[in-house]
């Protein structure tokens, strides 16, 4: 699903990622760890095409990303469900409208859209909050809204950047259970997290990033 071939990324003199190789197979779920500044965000940004690699090749869903032009970036991003640490919800939108945003962008009509939004909100257990503003919800609930938005378009791949960063252990475990559920129905999941306590209790492979270098089970070409 995601393949990095000799990928390097430098900002000026700083090497954020050095000759990274890894391959996340379709339907796999894995964690990406490393202390802050180790290159986790860089790796996710390369997948989202928020950045382009200095050298090497990134392939997502059999598509070589270097082949995509600026105008093809939006279509690529629509294939990926993205969950942020700070949830990135729009506070002047209702919960419903936040979750509906990816569908609106894809041009769904009102009926199909609201059906899918309700299904996604139901999945994260917040169906009764659809009319509220995200600002009145707890941080755990806000994160679940962010997850609902990421899955509403039924992506094949979910990327999460520190999705439990602001949550207490119980809420974190709950959020991880959600990701596992999506993975069980065939969605590939890559979660960047430094919450080692939580990660070690879960049966998923861990890719480690250290000063831009990868190590771990996927760090070879394939596994």
């Amino acid at each position: 699903m995601i393949e990095f071939q000799q990928v390097s990324k430098s900002y000026h003199d700083k090497h954020a990622l050095v000759s990274a190789n890894f391959h996340l197979q379709r339907g796999d779920m894995a964690f990406l760890t490393g202390h802050s500044g180790a290159g986790k965000s860089t790796l996710l940004k390369l997948i989202m095409l928020m950045e382009r690699p200095t050298s090497g090749k990134v392939i997502v869903d059999r598509q070589d990303l270097s082949q995509l032009s600026r105008t093809q970036v939006p279509a690529h991003r629509r294939k990926i469900g993205l969950v942020f640490q700070n949830h990135q919800l729009l506070l002047d939108y209702s919960v419903f409208d936040n979750v509906a945003l990816p569908l609106k962008i894809s041009g769904y009509n009102e009926r199909d859209s609201s059906r899918r939004v309700r299904a996604a909100l139901d999945k994260v257990g917040l169906l009764d909050k659809e009319k509220l503003s995200p600002s009145v919800l707890s941080s755990g609930e806000q994160q679940r809204i962010g997850i609902a938005r990421a899955i509403v378009n039924k992506p094949k791949l979910i990327l999460a950047d520190e999705p439990t960063g602001n949550l207490d252990p119980a809420l974190s475990a709950e959020v991880m259970r959600l990701f596992q559920q999506f993975n069980q129905v065939g969605v590939s999941v890559l979660i960047a997290s430094h919450d080692l306590n939580l990660i070690q209790r879960l049966p998923h492979p861990v890719i480690q990033l250290n000063q831009g270098q990868l190590s771990g089970p996927f760090a070879m070409a394939g596994h």
């Binding site: 939006p74 279509a75 991003r77 993205l82 990135q88 962008i105």
Partner: protein, 323 residues
């Protein structure tokens, strides 16, 4: 979970939408949404619209005045006749024949033949010198042709050419035409036209800048929303649309306000201008914007605003990229 309360719908039940229909629906949604957004900050918007309206009103009202002044100029030109005095020995038949020959020319609209006798009779009644004139044995007045050239032949060059040709005719003694007056009118109209066009150009630039800046501020205030939309895969076209509609609405309201200002101005000026025209025995009156003028005002304002918005939005959206 709550799923049991909401039975899953059958997805295949909905017919797929055609691309055109979808685009139309999306545009309708954005139009409605951007319309509603206008009323979230009505005062700020009103100020922008007024600024635009004033920038549009100035050149539009000048153009209106200019086009009507040109009308007036043409009306005066039509009445403006050349006087061709015939040689004293020209007979009545010769005079009438010449008048028909001249009328046959393509650049002549009208020819009136005034015989020497008619000229004397008219002079007697109008001048109050009937007694003195009655004592004359000979008629001192020549026969006259009053010539009105076609509108197309009323340029200074054509007029002087026509004068030359008329002078060469054997029966013609003298040709009188107030060339200086005609030249001046044309020069004044041409100068005011250029002043108006330059002003219109500058103020059109002003409209572009005002709309551009307004849209830039709107984009700045919705930066977070734009970032999120970019991250979940919104295309540039999708992001541009609400701002283009905002530009369009601004143009529409500016045009409406400008229209009101112009019509008020016209009714304010109507009375004194009417009196001025009547003092010259002219039937001329100041007209407001007609249907065509109003539509042109609307189209110009909307397209200028739309252009200003699209120039700003393209540049500004490229500056906002998720980091």
């Amino acid at each position: 979970m709550a799923a049991t309360k909401h039975p899953p719908h059958n997805a295949s039940r909905t017919k797929p939408e055609s691309a055109g229909k979808r685009l139309l629906r999306e545009h309708k949604e954005v139009a409605v949404r951007s319309w509603r957004r206008l009323w979230l900050s009505p005062l700020a918007n009103l100020l922008t619209w007024l600024t635009l309206a004033i920038a549009i009103t100035l050149p539009a009202s000048l153009l209106l005045l200019l086009s009507q002044a040109q009308h007036l100029g043409q009306q005066l030109n039509q009445e403006h006749q050349m006087s061709v005095f015939l040689v004293p020995h020209a007979t009545l038949e010769q005079g009438q024949l010449l008048s028909q020959e001249i009328l046959a020319r393509p650049d002549i609209a009208n020819v009136t033949y005034i015989s020497a006798a008619q000229a004397l009779a008219s002079f007697k009644t109008n001048s109050g010198l009937a007694d003195i004139l009655g004592s004359l044995t000979d008629n001192p007045l020549p026969a006259t042709l009053l010539i009105a050239p076609e509108n197309t032949a009323q340029t200074p060059q054509a007029m002087s050419q026509l004068t030359q040709q008329l002078r060469q005719l054997t029966l013609v003694d003298q040709v009188l035409v107030n060339m200086a007056w005609l030249d001046r009118l044309h020069a004044i109209l041409a100068a005011s036209q250029r002043v108006t066009y330059s002003l219109a150009f500058l103020l059109a630039l002003g409209v572009l800048l005002v709309v551009g800046n307004t849209v830039r501020l709107q984009i700045e205030s919705r930066k977070q929303e734009i970032l999120v939309i970019k991250l979940v895969g919104g295309t540039d076209a999708y992001l541009r649309r609400p701002f283009l509609y905002a530009g369009f609405w601004a143009g529409l309201f500016a045009a409406l306000l400008a229209w009101i200002i112009i019509q008020l101005g016209v009714s304010y000026l109507h009375e004194p201008l009417l009196q001025l025209a009547q003092s010259y025995q002219s039937p001329w009156q100041l007209q407001g914007l007609g249907w065509v003028g109003s539509l042109m005002l609307l189209a110009t304002s909307c397209s200028l605003s739309l252009l200003g918005a699209s120039l700003a939005v393209g540049r500004q959206l490229r500056l906002i990229e998720p980091q």
